[in-house]
Subunit: 414 residues, 2 copies
């Protein structure tokens, strides 16, 4: 060829999901979906494309985030469009649009892909998926307790035990009251202090103290006593049998829209010591669309950290990766391809996943291929089998063989 | 509020999926996935972002398509990026990348969202989803027969009967041979003639004849006799019990990359008389990545046309739209929210989808809400119930009541 060959790489910072990885992804998504639905959450979705103003409306801080850290472009109708960097503004928009028709409390979940324009950096992805669970219209602490219980259950559902993760809880309202008490009342200083608190885990204790004092413009320590609002949530979780939750004054969450309970769940393994998920209560998110504000609480949890957690703790069974059909029909020659297809059709009607190897390979190679891919059973179709109407079903792991008509073989598997 | 309220509309040409619509979407996707897997197809996926060169490499025709009909923009690393308008180039890229590791024939499917920059027009969507099934590395007619049988099964799996749709088959290679025989050999004329044939259904017979003669530069009629290659496929389908397929010389498919069998499936209803899906064989798609070309055959089927088909033929059961949990626990007062949550936990451990109504509503309103949403059962939790440890499970449609401990009630449902 005279032309240069095209590279086969995916776009920078994104992933191709070959069947084995896709199977792991689906196992994670299916388990998430099942868990959220057990709690009565209903699934929703929206386009990855959103009007940019959805993210910019909250002032200069967000405008900078949109311009520098998202995929934003102008369409031919002169509309500014953004590939969604998070799901909360979208769900707030959707709830606001149907506020008159919805029966509150609304419990919704979604598993969207989100985009961040990360500066090129090893291992930093530009696209990832996230489980998002939100409850709207419930102010009672029972909502906070339920959301945190659901967050814990999304790990337990994979077989995680309470020693593998810890839940850390704080409250933005009580933190703000504490700061106010210490004489810190202007938004800019509160934000500066909050940003420092958010970095506590990444610096030494003495560095932290110095940074906090600089940001606050005075000597400041974190509140040690558990606030009543946090204690109520902790007690509620204990009553539900969740005992790995603690008060942590350093949990503040990055987003400025949180107004009450905030929480993060950490992997206790030293190999993977970072937040697995985080969330909190936001009371003003729908107000930008007009009308009375609707209170909400929710959390988000990423697919990459989830998979790391499962792998670190040995919670990803090998069987999850097997995508081969249950039965492979192997014609000895292409003259039998069509009768093999008819036989496959009978297996499929019984609900059995069945493929036909219509390649030009020799029969021994076809058997090897089926075995390599993790197919459970094979049926060879050739001249003798077709004449007699009798076939052999061979289990590839046990080598057990069953002889009979196609109906007999289907009965054997079912 | 002094600021203008943000609109709650989704971005132009995209859809919000509220739970009821999402449930329909998931019913369609789950049925598609199950059908493809019954045929031994493995699921894959990739990012919606692709390097633009993936679509431009095939010459000026494609370059124009990319510039005018896709979302294409330059990222900050000066890379040109496109939101994928179709999945075939992506799957060809992925197969080419792993050609040494894959065991052919490869059977893969995906349910991607695709983007088209449609000119603003009513009812034209800029984002839609599509089932894509492809088989690589199998040249035998058995592959063509299997792919068309799978396409038919994706409708039958929803309860469609053969009278609801028809399969029309042609072959691009035999068409090209026919044109060559008629003296049409240069690519530009072949493309012009093909474009006219593609429009046959949209114009009158006399208009069509005139357009065809103009495009061909000579008198030309379509080949009437079924080519052998098409007859083999038709016979194979008949052997598999698929009898609603015919030869149709006007099926050519838009994409110029098809090289053999091409087919479309039409809704027979006069209300919805358009192609439900289409596909064909392409032999050269992986060659742009270098190496020997790998033959492939596949089809794509959109979510919007699929839903229209199901609705036209009454194949979308109302039950699909119900997203309410099986059981709603209704505390009579918020003092019982936490004990209601504990009871809900017991139902969930038994695998029963259960929510708690923690709103401030009166109990009668809570019952009304649960009923309206399609919840099957309710359990009221108040002072008496908590003291006695005896609860009543009420079936909302039959009004049947069961009294007992929580374990008794769980046993009743399971």
């Amino acid at each position: 060829m005279s032309e240069r060959n095209l590279p086969t790489d995916p776009y920078k910072g994104t992933r191709d999901f070959y069947p084995e990885d896709m199977a792991v992804q689906r196992y994670i998504f299916d388990t998430w979906a099942k868990t959220a639905e057990l709690f009565g959450f209903e699934r929703y979705d929206a386009s990855v494309l959103e009007p940019s103003e959805l993210y910019k409306s909250k002032g200069a801080e967000n405008e900078e985030m949109v311009n520098e850290q998202t995929y934003t472009f102008i369409d031919r109708g002169d509309r500014e469009v953004t590939l969604r960097p998070e799901m909360t503004p979208t769900v707030a928009r959707m709830v606001a649009a149907k506020r008159r028709d919805l029966s509150f409390p609304v419990r919704w979940y979604s598993i969207p892909n989100l985009f961040r324009y990360e500066r090129p950096q090893r291992g930093r992805l530009r696209e990832h998926w996230q489980l998002n669970c939100d409850m709207f219209g419930a102010q009672d602490a029972a909502a906070d307790i339920e959301i945190i219980a659901l967050a814990a259950q999304t790990l337990i559902a994979f077989g995680a035990t309470p020693d593998m993760f810890g839940i850390r809880i704080n409250n933005r309202a009580t933190l703000n009251a504490y700061l106010e008490n210490a004489g810190i009342t202007d938004d800019a200083t509160i934000r500066a202090v909050t940003n420092v608190i958010d970095k506590k885990a990444k610096v030494s204790a003495s560095e932290f103290d110095a940074m906090l004092t600089t940001a606050a413009g005075r000597e400041l320590t974190l509140p040690e006593e558990t606030p009543l609002e946090v204690q109520i949530v902790l007690d509620g979780l204990t009553a539900l049998g969740i005992t790995n939750a603690v008060y942590d004054p350093s949990i503040v969450r990055g987003f400025s829209y949180y107004t009450g309970t905030v929480f993060e769940v950490f992997d206790t393994s030293s190999e993977n010591n970072r937040a697995l998920l985080g969330g909190g209560r936001y009371d003003d998110l729908t107000s930008m669309f007009g009308g009375e504000p609707i209170t909400g609480i929710g959390f988000g949890m990423g697919d990459v950290t989830m998979r790391d957690f499962l792998e670190t703790h040995g919670l990803l069974p090998d069987s999850v990766r097997i995508t081969a059909p249950t039965v492979a029909i192997l014609p000895t020659d292409k003259a039998f391809n069509l009768s093999a297809a008819a036989i496959a059709g009978e297996f499929r009607e019984a609900g059995i996943r069945t493929s036909v190897d219509i390649s030009d390979k020799k029969i021994a190679k076809k058997i090897g291929s089926a075995s390599e891919q993790g197919t459970a059973y094979i049926v060879v179709v050739g001249e003798d089998e077709e004449r007699e109407g009798t076939f052999i079903l061979k289990a590839l792991t046990t080598k057990e063989e069953t002889s009979g008509t196609i109906s007999d073989l289907i009965a054997k598997i079912s």
